[in-house]
């Protein structure tokens, strides 16, 4: 998608993006959205005629084991909810591309790594959300986190939370994961500083440690 499709809308109509992000609410809880979209004709022109969805709904999110009420718009992504709407803001999860192309926003949803920029906040209701802030136990880093520090698997650090979550998701399922499996698990993550080789070292070391210690 180029940046122009975002703008490519009639006054008062949907952009493709706000439509797609709005559409997620049908399956979730947005009552307004449900009625509005149910009445909408299926054609593209028809969609543009649908009055825009606006306003906040209150939802419940369980972030790192704590449940809290969060005001979100139907289109609010989980990433945006974490960074701007939960209290306190969880800014460890990074916004980089906002289109599922970089992995910087990776969180674990019921243990599965997902791009929080491609997940609607309302769709994360009733699911266990784990973010980078939820890995360390007080001052004690998780094995993946300490392996990242030891192996210099971080430079500017902006991609780091996303990589740590992807590696954690992979190793918690299988601490025996081979290097190719780790690479596959992180294939959606980008690092511009070029820490990949050290990330691989860190992930292998963390896997070994998790197997021995059985720690999470």
């Amino acid at each position: 998608m180029t940046e122009f499709s975002d703008r490519d809308s009639k006054p008062g109509g949907y952009t493709r993006r706000s439509f797609l992000k709005g559409a997620g609410t049908v399956a979730a809880s947005g009552v307004v959205a449900q009625t509005a979209l149910a009445a909408a004709p299926e054609t593209a022109e028809g969609r543009a005629l649908v009055p825009r969805l606006a306003g906040e709904v209150e939802i419940q999110l369980e972030v790192n084991g704590k449940t809290q009420k969060v005001k979100c718009e139907p289109r609010t992504t989980l990433l945006s909810a974490l960074r701007h709407r939960v209290d306190p803001p969880h800014t460890g999860t990074k916004l980089v591309c906002d289109q599922g192309a970089c992995g910087a926003c990776t969180v674990l949803l019921d243990g599965e790594p997902v791009c929080s920029c491609m997940t609607l906040a309302v769709d994360a209701q009733g699911r266990e959300i784990r973010t980078i802030e939820g890995l360390a136990d007080g001052d004690a880093l998780s094995p993946v986190q300490s392996a990242f520090v030891e192996n210099d698997a971080l430079m500017c650090g902006f991609c780091t939370p996303g990589f740590v979550m992807s590696v954690t998701g992979c190793l918690e399922k299988n601490p025996d994961a081979s290097l190719p499996e780790i690479k596959t698990a992180c294939s959606g993550n980008l690092c511009r500083c070029g820490t990949y080789p050290h990330i691989f070292d860190a992930a292998v070391q963390a896997g070994r440690q998790m197997k021995q210690g059985g720690t999470k």
């Binding site: 180029t2 703008r7 803001p89 980089v96 802030e133 890995l135 690479k183 511009r192 080789p197």
Partner: protein
């Protein structure tokens, strides 16, 4: 104070170092790995507004009508500003900006703005830029020549009379910096004083520029860059984002959060210029390049572009170069990690290979015959050994077999300055409670500045690296230069060393009476303090510091020229595999060697070398700005359409610090590591299958096309 003249600070011998020249863990690694590190993007202030830009969707346009009115009807929108209400000159140029209560509301507000544009002729390709029908873009016309060296007739004659002659045109696309944290800042201005969190490579510069925008004095601006998500040369000035944030902050008296979105970042925050280079060169049977002519056209959009010129590092008996620029209606290029050098490298390393093959000479041997500096000989030899060159079967001719997967090897070299300048003022403080801080207003881009700042002081006091707090990224910590040209370490490290040295001398002075010796006899080692007169009587660091009572030690440091120097070299080799049926290319291994004078943190230096090789791998294989030439649409303004190398494309990487370089002075080394990698890969592709790709990136279709022709 001291009766003795203060001794000059000197780096310890490498063998005596306990902290520096070792593998040091980053002191801020934990903050980064836990998400606790707060970047400018992450700053949240009460009452803060989010600002956003509206970009012009055309390469150049007249703004016939700009209606900000509808913004007032958008819920959550607070204010809108016109940025450019007459004419735009490059694709994606911001025309308006809004400030709103949330990012979502800011997006709505941007969409509500109505703009009517009129377009009449623009250029997004070199061809269009050269078309006389294209309206004028730059002040000097749409193309101009601004540099010429050597004698054309002489060089042409030398090429013509050489034993072999080659002529080729090498093209490179525009590459983007792709800092994962976009440009931007948060400005909190109460009408008198401003606090600014900026994602910048130059804290000191930002405080001056923000002061200018807000019409207050620099001392009333506090700039914080605790963490920043990459710069690579694109983040020096405050830019349009800084100016706009200041305008909003002034008018609204509320904190403004203005970070570019990803498309903004791709379209108006700078790039590495593209270019076209036409090289003719001749060499004799003895393996000497005797003549070369180079015609260079830089593609810097509305700016000039960059290229250091040819024959770059190689020595050629007679050469001529003409360099110019062709403007297009695209974003101005900015400095990007070794500006111009990767472009020059791609053409020269290609033509050098072509000459060697034409002579039937070993590629490595031919390079060495045309390189005067012996450092390159030793470095090339080292990477050749590491990559397996001497066992490789195709050293003077490419593998032309077809049907299977062929392996090839290629080389490239680099050069850089990396010297420092007298800008930084640093401070080191020892407190009675035993804590030590070393502070500088310089910034850590991910290079490890914070870590070595503390480590230099730790080395001085015989402490562990973890016992000193390195503080960076705050305007209050003293002036520092911008982190460009790999000048940070050579500018900063000597000033930190100077402060630590003075602090140690002061401390020795204060401890002398306690230890009943002279200040010269006081030693700081292994976390202890003692006198050489009575080595058995030792104080722990904590005990020694407690003697300071209520008077901490504080020393400030300045640049010390003799602690740094300039001039670094590098060589890289790449091994690739080409599928001769499909053109698919896989980079198997890259080896990079880099000298850097006295290494401060070996682990971070290897990370830099890896990072340079990986960025070059992206340039080689994937990265390319694409603009649709007839409609002028930006087609590569996010990571789904502009591919960066990822885990799956990572070859085996070998990063080597050249320890044969025994200079006892610090030199910057981050930039040269990006210069030769893509050239080595392109040469390796040719070596693997006899197909030379003259325009980056080396996509499989181009390789396959070549394979088809040669079949």
């Amino acid at each position: 104070m001291s009766p003795n003249p203060i001794a000059q600070p000197e780096w310890k011998k490498r063998a005596d170092m306990k902290v520096l020249n070792t593998d040091l863990r980053r002191v801020d690694g934990e903050a980064k790995a836990t998400g606790r590190a707060v970047y400018s993007h992450d700053v949240r202030l009460p009452n803060m507004l989010y600002a956003k830009f509206l970009r012009c969707p055309h390469p150049a346009a007249k703004v016939v009508d700009l209606d900000l009115g509808p913004v007032s009807a958008v819920s959550g929108a607070i204010h809108a500003l016109a940025i450019e209400s007459e004419e735009t000159s490059f694709l994606g140029q911001p025309v308006a900006a809004v400030a709103a209560e949330s990012l979502e509301a800011a997006e709505d507000a941007i969409r509500a703005i109505r703009v009517e544009y009129e377009t009449s002729g623009w250029a997004v390709t070199e061809e269009q830029g050269l078309d006389p029908a294209t309206p004028s873009i730059g002040r000097r016309g749409n193309s101009f020549v601004d540099r010429e060296t050597g004698d054309l007739d002489e060089a042409s004659a030398a090429v013509a009379s050489a034993d072999v002659m080659v002529e080729s045109t090498y093209t490179v696309p525009v590459q983007h910096h792709c800092c994962l944290e976009t440009h931007g800042l948060v400005v909190d201005f109460d009408g008198k004083r401003a606090k600014v969190w900026a994602s910048t490579q130059h804290v000191t510069g930002v405080s001056q520029q923000v002061a200018g925008e807000l019409s207050i004095s620099t001392s009333d601006v506090e700039v914080i860059t605790d963490y920043m998500g990459g710069g690579f040369g694109a983040k020096f000035g405050i830019g349009i984002e800084g100016q706009t944030a200041c305008r909003f902050a002034k008018e609204l008296k509320r904190p403004i959060h203005l970070m570019l979105d990803r498309a903004d970042e791709f379209l108006f925050s700078g790039n590495r210029s593209g270019g076209r280079q036409i090289l003719k060169a001749g060499a004799n049977m003895d393996g000497r390049i005797v003549g070369m002519t180079a015609e260079i056209w830089r593609h810097g959009g509305i700016a000039r572009g960059s290229n250091p010129g040819q024959p770059y590092i190689y020595s050629v008996e007679s050469s001529h170069m003409q360099m110019g620029s062709v403007h297009t209606n695209t974003d101005a290029n900015r400095a990007m990690r070794a500006p111009g050098h990767p472009q020059a490298s791609f053409a020269i390393e290609g033509i050098v290979d072509e000459l060697a093959y034409a002579l039937g000479m070993d590629l490595l041997d031919f390079r060495m015959r045309n390189l005067e500096d012996p450092v390159y000989h030793r470095q090339l030899d080292r990477v050749a050994k590491e990559v397996g060159w001497y066992e490789h079967g195709y050293r003077a001719e490419p593998n032309r077999s077809r049907g299977g997967k062929n392996v090839g090897i290629g080389f490239g070299i680099s050069v850089w300055g990396g010297g420092g300048r007298p800008v930084c003022v640093t401070s080191v403080r020892i407190d009675p409670d035993g804590s030590v801080t070393a502070s500088t207003g310089s910034q850590d881009l991910g290079t490890g500045t914070r870590t070595y700042v503390g480590a230099i002081a730790a080395e001085e006091f015989g402490l562990k690296a973890s016992q000193v707090i390195g503080r960076v990224g705050h305007s209050a910590y003293g002036p520092a230069n911008g982190s460009g040209g790999s000048t940070t370490v050579a500018s900063l490290a000597p000033a930190v060393k100077d402060a630590a040295h003075k602090a140690r001398e002061q401390f020795a002075e204060r401890l002398a009476s306690w230890l009943e010796c002279s200040a010269e006899q006081v030693r700081f080692e292994g976390g202890e303090v003692y006198s050489t007169a009575e080595p058995g009587k030792r104080l722990s660091w904590a005990e020694a510091c407690s003697i300071l009572g209520s008077r901490p030690i504080e020393a400030s440091g300045e640049f010390q020229g003799h602690l740094q120097t300039q001039g670094v070299h590098g060589a890289q080799a790449a091994m690739v595999e080409v599928d001769t049926q499909t053109g698919a290319l896989k980079v198997l291994k890259m080896v990079g060697i880099q000298d850097c004078g006295l290494p401060l943190n070996r682990l971070a230096i290897r990370s830099q070398i890896n990072g340079g090789m990986i960025e070059a791998l992206g340039y080689a294989l994937f990265e390319e700005r694409v603009i649709e030439p007839w409609l002028g649409y930006a087609l590569s303004a996010n990571f789904n359409d502009y591919k960066l190398p990822g885990c799956k494309e990572m070859p085996e990487l070998v990063a080597i610090i050249d320890d044969d370089d025994d200079r006892q002075q610090v030199i910057g080394m981050a930039e040269p590591t990006i210069i030769p990698g893509h050239s080595a890969i392109a040469n390796a592709v040719h070596n693997a299958c006899g197909v030379r790709v003259y325009d980056l990136p080396l996509t499989p279709d181009k390789i396959l096309m070549g394979l088809t022709k040669k079949a």
